[in-house]
């Protein structure tokens, strides 16, 4: 059994007729943190959205190529017709650059994906919310204020909340798009520590252009330039 979790072959992407990604072929190892770096605007973030098909809701964008991700022990073609979009996104979770908690309580934010999945049992939901918050190193900070609005948390806490929210459905891959660029150094450290702890369970891809961070936490660095991979 190979160690490859994600395999991308001959990926092309264009937006409004302008080429964003050209002939990208790359594989990512299981249970590792891979950093995607390069100057801004070279298509790193776009690359992430091709993995969970989030780009499909943007107009005027087109993609060619093959993306395979191992899900539940089986290599699956992400763009196969038999692949349900919502299932894919539950297994390939994503966290955005700016923390984006939904305007509801902390507990409800974490429970939101469970609600989407149709999980109604209260004790089950409460248990998994706690589990996710613990995994995100956030439980001790928020356990007494679970009913507060999530937007009352600090920026760093919000970002960890978003990671917890992504973790609650037990994804296999976690995509992060510059997760620390809007945070102060202390909050950044907390998020990095969290990611390092998570790689035992997950395959993690982080887009970042802070080289220091990349070196600190990642097992491998893939460098993008001019719409394609130049090193890694």
């Amino acid at each position: 059994m190979s160690n490859t979790k994600i395999r991308v072959e001959n990926l092309y992407f264009s937006y409004r007729g302008r080429s964003v990604l050209r002939d990208v072929s790359v594989g990512f190892a299981r249970n590792a943190i891979t950093a995607l770096t390069g100057p801004s605007g070279v298509g790193k973030s776009t690359f992430l959205t091709t993995l969970n098909r989030l780009w499909e809701s943007t107009r005027d964008a087109t993609m060619q190529g093959r993306v395979e991700i191992e899900l539940q022990g089986r290599m699956r073609d992400v763009y196969d017709r038999g692949m349900p979009l919502t299932e894919l996104r539950k297994k390939v979770a994503m966290v955005f650059q700016a923390p984006n908690p939904l305007p509801m309580s902390i507990a409800k934010n974490i429970a939101f994906p469970l609600k989407l999945a149709g999980e109604r049992h209260r004790t089950v939901v409460a248990g998994r919310v706690e589990q996710a918050l613990r995994m995100a190193n956030l439980w001790h900070e928020v356990k007494d204020r679970l009913q507060d609005d999530a937007r009352t948390l600090s920026g760093g806490q919000q970002q960890r909340l978003c990671i917890a929210r992504a973790l609650v459905l037990e994804p296999e891959v976690l995509l992060l798009d510059e997760p620390t660029s809007s945070l102060d150094p202390a909050a950044t450290d907390a998020v990095e520590e969290l990611l390092t702890g998570l790689k035992e369970r997950l395959t993690i891809l982080v887009v970042s252009h802070y080289l220091e961070q990349v070196v600190r936490i990642s097992d491998r660095v893939v460098r993008f330039a001019d719409g394609t991979i130049v090193a890694g």
Partner: protein, 286 residues
């Protein structure tokens, strides 16, 4: 150091602003002055709750107030679910081409003159209601409310769509990345966040329904009575004003229509200020 013509221009602009805003107050003033003799004679409150019996010298507008409330609320009951469904279709359910086309259609509908609605209502809907329920002329509270409901649906739908559009994209992105389908985003993210804006839409649509004259005038049958069922005819405040345009400017019957005008004006005032108050109490989603 301003030049003279700059000053003159500023004064002129200010003057026209003051003049046009004064019209708002002048309307109320005229209504009060014209309605005053009748109000003075019998007091204001009796006018509002006493019945309409011109031959006994009673010019209360109570039946018209009930008629207006009944017809506009009934039309709201029809229009609200319809608008909700249509806005769902536009915002999340339909594929984008269908959604855009449907939105154009609804925008176009807002331009249909109310007199045309009334005209089609008389010749198409009234006979159907007459046959279906076998009661009276077919002109009834129900008939007017049905057409009025169709008339206000586009307005309400567009307001609903508007409040969906104002939801920050980051919330929708978050939900989408967590695997929410469009329908799930609608139900669990958009709908809870848009509530307030939607309430505004409902209120403004209610204002439209109350303020409309032609549909009720042409379709509600205009009997001066407190309706006891939806199949009975009713008269609205607006239709009453249109109907009692007697030539004798001094008759008390005639003056009662200014009381109707004042009631309608005060209703507008209330709706406007409630909507403004809701708008200035900042949106939670923002």
């Amino acid at each position: 150091m301003k030049k003279l013509h700059e000053l003159v221009a500023e004064r002129l602009l200010c003057l026209s602003a003051l003049a046009s805003s004064a019209i708002t107050l002048a309307i109320l003033a005229f209504l009060v002055v014209m309605g005053l003799p009748l109000m003075r004679a019998g007091g204001v409150l009796p006018l509002v709750y006493s019945p309409w019996a011109p031959f006994q010298g009673s010019f209360g507008i109570f039946p018209m107030i009930v008629g207006t409330c009944a017809i506009s609320l009934a039309s709201l009951v029809l229009a609200f679910p319809l608008s909700l469904g249509c806005s769902f279709l536009i915002a999340a359910v339909a594929p984008s081409a269908v959604s855009r086309g449907f939105r154009r259609l609804i925008e176009l509908m807002t331009g249909i003159p109310t007199v045309v609605y009334g005209f089609v209502g008389i010749f198409l809907l009234v006979p159907i209601v007459r046959e279906l329920f076998r009661s009276g002329s077919g002109m009834s509270l129900l008939t007017a409310a049905l057409v009025l409901g169709i008339m206000i649906t586009p307005t309400m739908t567009l307001f609903f769509c508007d409040s969906f559009d104002r939801i920050p994209k980051s919330y929708l992105d978050a939900a989408e990345a967590l695997g929410a389908s469009r329908t799930q985003q609608l139900l669990h993210v958009m709908l809870p966040l848009a509530k307030k804006g939607m309430l505004t839409g409902v209120l403004l649509a209610l204002g439209r329904a109350v303020g409309d004259t032609l549909i009720a005038l042409m379709l509600a049958g205009n009997a001066v009575q407190v309706p006891t069922s939806v199949l009975e005819p009713a008269r609205t405040l607006t239709a009453h004003i249109a109907l009692v345009m007697a030539a004798d400017y001094e008759s008390p019957e005639f003056r009662s229509i200014f009381t109707c005008g004042i009631v309608l004006y005060l209703f507008t005032l209330t709706v406007t200020f409630v909507v403004r108050a809701m708008g200035s109490a900042k949106d939670e989603a923002a």
